[in-house]
């Protein structure tokens, strides 16, 4: 077809103009591809960190904090959220809470002057009946729920003092020594939603899925294991019971890593908390359901504290956060400016080309070419240049993204301790503060490349429309008088 041959001839034989226009569009589009890939890489990096924060697939964590009075609202403190519970439930909670204030009766420890070692399993939060797990799991918007029980094994060692005499030095010679080990009970039927997930196992294996086998097993945190010289295959004691260490786990950043993980039923049995849990991990049916589900849990479980995964995002800081900010704000602005500049360059070059070809376009009009044909010709040429710019831009974008991938810059994500102190998101102690490094990639996808080529074509079309409009306005007699 003649018109296409003419377009291609213009593009091919006016190489300088074509290269300049295509390159202008390509740089803009390439930048958009690179920033798009980088933004996706940052999202993935943040997702990776958040996954470590929240656990695999966990959307909400439900706990019941000890602190009940509401300091922020004077006069409402008497509105005890536990008043709606059954008497039995209230007694159970009081009993658990009572352990925190229990004083030692020295005579129970042995004869004065004898060494003693006493272990208490304490809960930093109030517990729920295990049936609450099923209740939460059945709420609208909930996909699944798993119960967990996290306790602190407080070991007190020392010499039994004379009756009524306080130890001289609580940590020194002749006094008591305290050591704490956090222990979590894991619902082995739902490892993906548990306090510790199979992904976190760095050595050995996860707890057996069969409860009978799992009851004799334990997982130990890597840091705790190193500190105490524990290896896979060793035995650890929890409340006097010997358990085989089957695996070592990595503490989740910002999560609620415990020192030791055992099968839930076994921990309930060892701690005398049959049928009780103090944390419920919930997976929502969809992202949209999270807010409604959190409100429903609040309503259904008096005194419950619900923390959503989104709450944890605020606690992520460091260069990853900065980079994501940069990507979302400055990056978008940069991409917009680059695109606008590319479109402007293409438009100006096309207008300049129309100006330079005034007499040629006038000749076409003298030959009887209708307005529409002349405009189509100019726009078509610009579109071909746009397509070339798009392809070149895609190549530049791919090259840039591949370079970022090859370099693999490392970003740091840090998690701060919550300012409120006390309970972590899962109600079993403080959040693990710290930093982690994430390798940044720039993943490309077909959609991004299609978008790039589409943008370049849009740029070509815009430039072509401007040029075509200028060409349409050319008066044939004036155009033929042009000296260009």
């Amino acid at each position: 077809m003649f018109y296409v041959r003419y377009m291609l001839a213009e593009v091919r034989r006016r190489r300088g103009r074509t290269a300049l226009t295509a390159l202008g569009l390509a740089v803009g589009v390439g930048l958009v591809v690179m920033l798009g890939a980088l933004s996706k890489g940052l999202d993935e990096a943040q997702g990776e960190v958040l996954e470590r924060l929240t656990g695999v697939g966990t959307d909400l964590a439900v706990s019941r904090p000890l602190a009940v009075p509401n300091d922020d609202a004077p006069g409402t403190g008497s509105a005890d959220p536990f008043s709606g519970l059954s008497e039995e439930e209230q007694r159970q909670l009081e009993r658990e809470n009572g352990e925190h204030t229990a004083a030692f009766n020295y005579s129970d420890l042995g004869e004065p002057g004898e060494r003693f070692s006493e272990v208490s399993l304490l809960s930093s939060g109030l517990s729920f009946p295990a049936s609450a797990v099923a209740t939460i799991g059945a709420l609208p918007g909930a996909k699944d729920a798993a119960g967990g029980l996290t306790l602190t094994a407080l070991r007190v060692e020392g010499v039994v003092p004379e009756s009524g005499a306080a130890p001289l030095n609580p940590h020194g010679e002749g006094g008591f020594e305290f050591s704490e080990t956090s222990v979590s009970g894991v619902d082995v039927r739902k490892p993906g939603l548990a306090i510790v997930t199979p992904d976190q196992v760095t050595e050995g294996s996860y707890l057996a899925t069969a409860r009978d086998r799992a009851m004799g097993e334990a997982l130990v945190d890597l840091g705790y294991a190193r500190q105490n010289g524990i290896a896979v295959g060793d035995s650890v004691k929890v409340a006097g019971a010997g358990l085989e260490v089957v695996g070592l786990t990595r503490a989740p950043l910002g999560g609620d890593g415990s020192d030791v993980y055992v099968e839930l039923g076994r921990l309930q049995e060892l701690s005398g908390r049959h049928g009780r849990v103090n944390g419920v991990l919930v997976r929502a049916a969809s992202v949209d359901a999270v807010a409604g589900l959190a409100a429903e849990i609040d309503r259904q479980l008096p005194g419950a504290e619900v923390v959503t995964a989104a709450d944890l995002v605020d606690r992520v800081g460091g260069s990853l956060d900065d980079a994501d900010d940069l990507s979302s704000k400055l990056g978008t602005a940069l991409a917009a400016v680059a695109l606008a500049a590319a479109f402007l360059i293409a438009t100006l070059l096309t207008l300049s080309s129309v100006q330079k070809r005034t007499r040629e376009l006038g000749t076409l009009k003298a030959l009887g070419w209708r307005q529409r044909l002349v405009v189509r010709q100019v726009t078509g040429e610009s579109l071909v240049q746009g397509a070339l710019g798009g392809l070149l831009g895609a190549v530049i974008g791919i090259a840039g993204a591949t370079t970022i991938d090859a370099i693999g810059p490392t970003l740091e994500a840090s998690v701060e301790n919550p300012s409120s102190g006390g309970l972590g998101p899962f109600g079993q102690g403080g959040i693990t503060a710290g930093t982690t490094d994430v390798v940044l990639g720039a993943p490309l996808d077909v959609g991004l490349l299609v978008l790039a080529i589409g943008l370049a074509l849009a740029g070509g079309l815009l430039a072509g429309a401007a040029g075509g409009l200028r060409a349409a306005r050319l008066h044939p007699a004036e155009a033929l008088r042009s000296t260009e």
Binding site: Y6, R13, R359, E360, K365, L367, G368, R370, R481
Partner: protein, 254 residues
């Protein structure tokens, strides 16, 4: 040379074509600007050009020759008076109708050749045929025929930059004639050529005029070229000073 009236639309453009002159100008005027900056390029020109005539338009620079040619070529509209092409007044036609008229009835040859530099000689000729909507084989046949007629068959695939000035002007003539126009308007067609090539181009135009019976209006500075025409129109300061109504070929020799 392909048949002159290959296009039937051209044939039916005006049923009274054979009976009416190609052009009838009645006090046709063209001015540019307004007020103190107003310039009168063509002032109340009255003339008639019969079908099949070979008319030369001569005059010094700025006398209005090119303006007259652009009005005759439906590239511009008069600001005063009237211009009839084959009985049809041009001043009332819209842009689309003027484009249609140029496409189907008129052919142009320019001093600067005005070839499209990125297209080959054959494609330049084809550029004049494409808007007619001819089939590709017919178009190719017409292109080959026209290039052969101007002696450029072997140069069909050359770009304008690879051709001499004379060859480029012959391509332009082939482009003008490919659509079998009823009128060819040539603006200083030898202005950019040496005398040998200029002579060759004028010979070609004169021969085509004789063989095809087209109306040929040729603007020139060159009195010797003007002598080839059947009639010479003399312009000075936008006014027609001689040759407007009758054939005065003898005036050229005076």
């Amino acid at each position: 040379m392909t048949g002159r009236r290959a296009n039937t639309d051209t044939e039916t453009m005006s049923t009274e074509r054979d009976a009416t002159p190609s052009y009838e100008l009645e006090r046709a005027a063209r001015s540019f600007g307004e007020g103190s900056t107003r310039v009168v390029a063509l002032d109340a020109v009255t003339l008639t050009i019969e079908q099949g005539e070979f008319v030369a338009v001569v005059g010094p620079s700025g006398s209005g020759k090119t303006t007259l040619l652009q009005l005759l070529g439906a590239l511009d509209r008069p600001t005063g008076g009237s211009i009839r092409f084959e009985g049809q007044p041009l001043e009332h036609l819209g842009d689309r109708s003027l484009a249609e008229l140029r496409l189907r009835a008129l052919g142009f040859v320019f001093q600067q050749f005005n070839l499209i530099p990125t297209l080959t000689a054959a494609e330049n000729v084809e550029a004049g045929l494409t808007p007619l909507g001819m089939s590709a084989p017919k178009r190719r046949q017409a292109v080959d025929g026209q290039l052969a007629a101007v002696g450029l068959g072997p140069r069909a695939l050359h770009l304008p930059g690879q051709l001499s000035g004379g060859e480029q002007q012959r391509v332009a003539i082939a482009r003008a004639l490919a659509r079998a126009p009823r009128v060819v308007l040539a603006d200083e067609p030898t202005g950019n050529l040496d005398s040998r090539n200029g002579e060759m181009v004028i010979e070609l135009l004169a021969r085509l005029h004789r063989e095809l019976g087209i109306t040929l209006v040729l603007v020139t500075h060159d009195e010797w070229i003007a002598r080839r025409a059947g009639r010479v129109l003399r312009l000075a300061d936008g006014r027609l000073v001689s040759g407007g109504a009758t054939s005065l070929a003898e005036e050229v020799s005076q």
